[in-house]
């Protein structure tokens, strides 16, 4: 595998990992924009805009975009998060030219009023769809509560009210501000050669408007709180908790990833053995999420409503034990094996490499090959975990519940 990096005159960052032993090539634009970059009056615009990107431009209508992607057999889609909006396609190498052209169309769509009005309905439907997922409701609420007053607390989808009130003109202004070449990274992974790739990129992406934009990184100051979303008809109670963990720029994030596997993976972790294996809960896990200038520990628990307190106590006993005694060498070794195997399996597909390639560049201007990732995992020690726990113990400030419970005694 060979890594290449280049910047176009307009500021577009290009990172590519070429691998001639795979069958496909995946390309993705990582636009450094998401819900945290929105103001309150345009809440949900990043995600709505992601939908609008597929409506085409003066050359390709909406029908053309979908039709041509399908004609070349592309596996394509997009996603919006708090910090990055990503547009990607995986294709056979012979279709890379067409694919790069279409992907570049997604960066500069027309944003017509009629498309906007129609797609607004789809966005409202999507909000309705997620309303029917208790874990999503819990996530939206815990982000709002934990990051109260901080831009990371802003909802990705927005609300029925904010989307209904949003205008096409507001979206155009937001787009002009955020979709500048200097705010975008193009990552490519798979079977192609860099010289011809670069020629395609220059042809299709050279005209993206130059410029960059800022993102304030205020400190997170969570206030301890409990919020319950009452749903009488829900059979189970869903609980999420959130605490402070390493920021995306800290090297302690690697130890945090590994600790989350030891403590809260979905199989053979401490939470698994103490809560899931005995049948006390339907699900219990711990995850680590990193952001620009922030990081979180996040737990999720679902169980029968009457058992919530007992199960939260069990969970916190696990966390207290880890905070006080750390983890064992054997646990560390098993987690390393698990993670290493995941790195290898995920890395076999260009689509699997794409998110790691683009993500590392957007956040840190870093390139990590599979071998680098494996070496980092292998190099972690109990001392790193101890340092992590010293600085970022498994402590939780914010609790959100979704389900029939109206009160919690924690």
């Amino acid at each position: 595998m060979q890594f290449h990096q280049h910047v176009l005159p307009n500021g577009l960052q290009i990172v590519a990992e070429m691998n001639s032993s795979v069958h496909s090539v995946a390309a993705g634009f990582f636009v450094r924009t998401g819900s945290r970059d929105e103001t309150e009056d345009v809440s949900g615009v990043s995600h709505f805009l992601e939908h609008m990107a597929f409506k085409g431009n003066g050359k390709f209508a909406a029908d053309d975009v979908n039709r041509i992607f399908d004609e070349v057999g592309a596996n394509y889609n997009a996603s919006t998060g708090e910090e990055v909006t990503m547009y990607y396609a995986a294709v056979l190498p012979e279709y890379l030219d067409t694919t790069m052209e279409l992907l570049s169309v997604l960066m500069q769509p027309s944003l017509s009023q009629s498309d906007f009005d129609m797609e607004k309905n789809v966005i409202l439907e999507e909000i309705g769809m997620y309303d029917d997922h208790p874990s999503f409701t819990a996530y939206d609420n815990i982000m709002a509560a934990h990051f109260s007053g901080h831009p990371l607390g802003q909802s990705i989808l927005g609300t029925n009210e904010s989307i209904t009130a949003l205008s096409a003109e507001q979206m155009r202004v937001y787009h002009a501000d955020r979709y500048k070449a200097g705010n975008i990274t193009l990552a490519v992974a798979g079977n192609t050669d860099f010289d011809s790739l670069l020629a395609l990129i220059e042809k299709h992406c050279g005209s993206l408007p130059a410029g960059a934009c800022d993102r304030p990184l205020p400190e997170v100051k969570p206030v301890d709180c409990i919020k319950l979303v009452h749903r009488e008809s829900s059979v189970q109670q869903h609980i999420m908790q959130m605490g402070i963990a390493p920021k995306g720029s800290e090297t302690l994030r690697f130890a945090a990833e590994l600790l989350a596997v030891v403590v809260g993976d979905d199989s053979s972790s401490r939470l698994f053995w103490d809560l899931v294996d005995p049948g006390y809960v339907e699900s219990a896990d711990l995850g680590y999420n990193d952001y620009d200038g922030a990081g979180t520990w996040m737990t999720y628990l679902s169980c029968m409503p009457d058992d919530v307190e007992k199960n939260i106590a069990r969970m916190h006993k696990v966390f207290d034990d880890v905070n006080q005694g750390g983890i064992t060498a054997e646990e560390l070794e098993q987690a390393k094996n698990k993670v290493a195997s995941r790195v290898v399996l995920r890395g076999e597909r260009p689509m699997g490499r794409l998110s790691s390639l683009g993500g590392n560049w957007v956040y840190r201007k870093e390139y990590n090959s599979i071998a680098d990732d494996l070496a980092i995992v292998r190099g972690l020690s109990l001392k790193d975990v101890a340092e992590l726990l010293e600085k970022y113990p498994l402590k939780f400030n914010t609790t959100v519940g979704v389900g029939p419970r109206e009160k919690l005694e924690l």
């Binding site: 496909s24 399908d70 189970q236 899931v276 005995p278 049948g279 195997s341 399996l345 597909r349």
Partner: protein, 420 residues
Amino acid sequence: MTSQKFESFQLTNGLRVVVQTMSGLQSAAMTLMVPAGAVYDQRGKSGTAAILSEMFPRGAAAMSARELSSAMDNLGLQRSVSGGLSYITFSTATTADRITDAVPLIASMVLNPHLTDQQFGPARELVHQALNAMEDEPKQQLGHFLRRCSYPAPWGNPAEGTMADLPGISLDDIQQHYNKFVTPQDAVVGVAGNISAAELQPVIEEAFAAWQPGESFTPAIGRVEDSPKHIEHDSAQTHIGIAWDTVPYRHERYFEAWAAVSLLSGGMSSRLFTEVREKRGLCYAVSASINTQRDRARVFGYAGTTNERAQETLDVMVAEIRRLHEDITNEELQRCKARAKSALIMQQESTMSRSSSLARDTLHLGRVRELEEIRTKIDSLTVDQVRDFVVDYAPSSMVLVTIGPEALDPACVSAPAAVV
């Protein structure tokens, strides 16, 4: 398309093994499918196979659950056991240099599980919890009812079990189910990755040699539940499921069926996505796909939409299904072919996806369908063939299941098809 190398062998107890060597990759994956799924649950004991599936990872031979799990983690073995309708499936993957060390552990889990009181209680509780979770996810619940109204029992039974039957299932039922159905003669192993059959064969033979064959069983066919059916639910959206007959994977016209469904729902230029979502903005999620069992299959359609627009969504979906035979163009079919061929080629980048295809093909067809054969079949499809199929299999009526605050008018699904 690159050439493929398959090798297969059979153990004296009947277990069939198919190996595809994928030398460009670093991993290897193994899928073992045993025909011991929920269709074999005794009447009134729906959930037996689901509980048994939960019990497999809970210790094997002399190893406790934790010891077994540690041994697997030390090999970096990703694994899952899933109790499906027809089969219990053991899926595993790790780096290719470790797969032969993993085989004895996998075999031990299958051949010598701890079917004890100590493990039974928690396993049943977990199945109970999973059923509770399903109640909170209307889309999942919809799938459950759609199957019940589409297939005769036990083929329409829920793989997850039912809340009503769960308390009546005993450890004895689990042991009986295990002894009767977890047998090698109709089971299949698919292995794909950077490993040869020559390396694997002695390891698999030794690990699975003690597995005793038993009898083969075919469940008796019962009744299909009535539809249209509406389940009242305090949800934000109305979830719509419709179903109609098509042909199963092993049928000679399967690829025509596949193309027909692709026209409806394969990709974002397909008819349902374009008509329901793009032109009318009626919903976020709309789809149709083939749900195939060995001997029967249905197309399952789905849309989730807010209540005020649910009736229109249903009407438009059904109209599109009914007019599928109209105006099929060669360009439309070419797009479906391009998507399928690219997916086939990309499948060769994943050992997990290949190993499960090897096992499923063997069970459905009695052999592995090589990618080149699939490509030829897809390439040779014509517009006339696909149109003829759509006409021949036009639904005269459809199953309709809805979950949401209000029932819909089902008239459109029962109107006879006006196909020329």
